[in-house]
């Protein structure tokens, strides 16, 4: 059998077996190992397996993952989420749809210290949903806003998806983080516009909140200063090259812990719980990275990525059309697969294509993150919707999916805007050499 045939068998086996509910990291490692052994030999495959596992688990660069996860976990216990919402709420709560807009703002703020979509959605859900319920917001709209705006967690730095993408494609994590800033702000703005249009059409969905005095507004600002400070410290250090990504993560986690200790919002038990959650989430991510590394080595010797890249390039279609096709594949795939797994499976195949088409790797990273955001709010597998449903048990899942739909439209528009206007992502990273 030729390496290409073995490669194709491996890919098909992977796609079929994934539906047996086998953990994806295990599956990729096993298929990759067997495939590599059949193309090269068992001895080489055994050496590869040991070296890959040791290299991935013991990589300094990858320690950035547990540290940023820890930062997000501790941030959950700092009460930052409540104070962020409080500020946004005092400023715009009295607008039509104001509480929903405040939720978007608070999510964007929390995203600046948390790198995952579901952690952002869970944290902001438990903060914002009770308030919106109190003011008789439509439950579908309220939950839809949280699920959608929670996805900003991975676009506004820090971001677990950018980290994983950066490691897989050997791109600078600092530059990727920078590339996410403007698209993040753009998307938050699009979400706000969506709310404004929606409540203009159906004002009864989102009644106005109470008016607040100027003094109250000013006072509420004091609660958000520390978040801003932490963001500036962590991202500033990273962007100026003062910190490595790992150091930025450690400083961020330590900073969040300091805020929590000073405010007395964290207990010893909660701290231990944050650590336990961190090991679990990091292990889950790293197992997939480990499996994907073994699988990637198998794909490389099978020359499949090379063949696929050549045949796609041979199609002779306009580059934008190929790009839109790739985005469409991610959107459809994201409906059924976990986003992280989808990225791991597809990056080795699509990344060479995209680079050969002449697209910027940083820009593609932003696209990947945005299609992931789409993936977390599309049925049937929409992690953020599950998370929000977990917080608001009384709102049925379909109502949340429906409530998230207008934001889905905004997300797709945002993603498509990036294709003709790559500067939206590339302007900031272009500023650093």
């Amino acid at each position: 059998m030729s390496p290409t045939t073995i490669g194709i068998i491996g890919l098909v086996a992977l796609v079929v077996l994934i539906f047996t509910r086998m953990p994806i990291g295990f599956l990729m490692a096993i298929v990759g190992f067997i495939g590599f052994a059949s193309i090269v030999n068992v001895d080489a495959a055994s050496t590869l397996l040991a070296k890959d596992l040791v290299a991935v688990f013991g990589s300094y660069n990858l320690t950035v993952i547990p540290l940023f996860v820890l930062m997000g976990q501790i941030a959950f216990h700092t009460g930052i989420s409540r104070r962020l919402f409080d500020t946004a709420y005092k400023f715009i709560g009295h607008w039509p749809g104001g509480l929903a807009i405040a939720t978007v703002g608070a999510c964007a703020g929390f995203a600046a210290i948390c790198g995952s979509t579901n952690a952002t959605a869970a944290t902001m859900g438990s903060t914002c949903l009770p308030e919106m319920k109190r003011y008789n917001y439509d439950p579908g709209l309220a939950c839809g806003v949280v699920a959608s705006a929670g996805s900003l967690g991975i676009l506004i730095p820090p971001s677990v998806i950018f980290i994983v993408y950066g490691i897989l494609t050997e791109q600078s994590i600092g530059k990727l983080f920078m590339a996410g800033v403007i698209p993040g702000i753009m998307l938050a703005t699009l979400f706000v516009l969506t709310i404004l249009i929606w409540v203009r059409l159906k004002p009864e969905l989102a009644p106005r909140g109470p008016k607040t005095s100027f003094k109250e507004k000013l006072q509420s600002l004091s609660g958000t200063g520390e978040t801003l400070l932490l963001f500036v410290l962590v991202m500033g250090g990273l962007f100026t090259g003062m910190f490595t990504p790992t150091e930025a993560g450690a400083v961020g986690a330590f900073g969040a812990l300091t805020i929590a200790l000073v405010r007395r919002t964290i207990t010893w038990k909660a701290f231990l719980q944050s650590l336990m959650e961190t090991t679990r989430i990091s292990c889950m991510i790293m197992m997939i990275v480990g499996g994907a590394t073994v699988f990637g080595h198998f794909l490389a010797v099978s020359r499949i990525p090379f063949d696929i890249a050549n045949s796609i390039l041979g199609l002779d279609l306009p580059h934008a059309v190929i790009m839109i096709m790739i985005v469409a594949i991610y959107i459809v795939g994201g409906c059924f697969l976990d986003s992280l797994a989808l990225i791991m499976l597809t990056i080795p195949i699509f990344y060479p294509v995209v680079v050969q088409l002449g697209y910027d790797p940083l820009w593609f990273g932003v696209i990947i993150v945005m299609v992931t955001q789409i993936g977390v709010i599309t049925p049937p597998v929409g992690v953020n919707v599950y998370v929000v449903h977990g917080v608001a048990r009384d709102v049925p899942m379909y109502a949340i999916f429906r409530g998230a739909f207008p934001f889905l439209v905004a997300l797709v528009i945002g993603t498509l805007l990036l294709i003709p206007f790559p500067q939206i992502a590339l302007f900031l990273p272009g500023l650093i050499k």
Partner: protein, 161 residues
């Protein structure tokens, strides 16, 4: 069987505490290093130690994460099938995974032996690297046990249905 299950769970739990401690130390060590660097006194070998702590943090939490069903899976198809069919597939994949990680534990021991023979140490502080490879090996072994346990449980579920 029940006793064995309890023992495996208890060990996985202890291992996870080690992993959690490694994360905490990783954070503190890095922060101290960053601060001391401002005074031109960085801790030598931080880079290496943090990498090794990362290896501990990830490998020692493997078994616990598996027990907690924390690894990412695709539920779409299986959740719509009868419980007996689900149990059948769980038997197959947990057995395959258990054997695979048993094998991984063995190749890691092999690799560690090579490292001992060649006297491999880290570049700055000359710390031997093989203990961490052995740690990954032991963790794979523990994960393998957890997966064998899953396999037995699913066999029972398959029979009882």
């Amino acid at each position: 069987m029940v006793r064995l299950e309890k023992i495996i769970k208890a060990i996985s739990d202890k291992f996870n505490w080690v992993a959690a401690a490694a994360v905490a130390v990783m954070m503190l060590l890095t922060v101290v290093d960053v601060v001391l660097r401002l005074f031109k006194m960085p801790i030598p070998g931080t880079f290496e130690i943090v990498g090794m702590l990362g290896a501990v943090a990830i490998s020692f939490s493997l078994a616990y994460t598996s027990l907690e069903k924390g690894h990412i899976t695709v539920e779409v198809l299986m959740q719509n099938l009868p419980v007996r069919v689900q149990a059948f597939f769980t038997v197959l994949y947990s057995l395959a995974s258990a054997l695979f990680f048993l094998f991984a534990a063995w190749v890691c021991i092999d690799y560690a032996m090579d490292l001992i023979k060649s006297g491999e140490v880290s570049s700055t502080i000359k710390m031997p690297t093989y203990p961490f490879v052995l740690g990954i090996s032991i963790s794979s072994l523990l994960l393998s046990l957890v997966l064998f346990l899953d396999c037995f449980k699913s066999v029972r579920e398959f029979k009882n249905q």
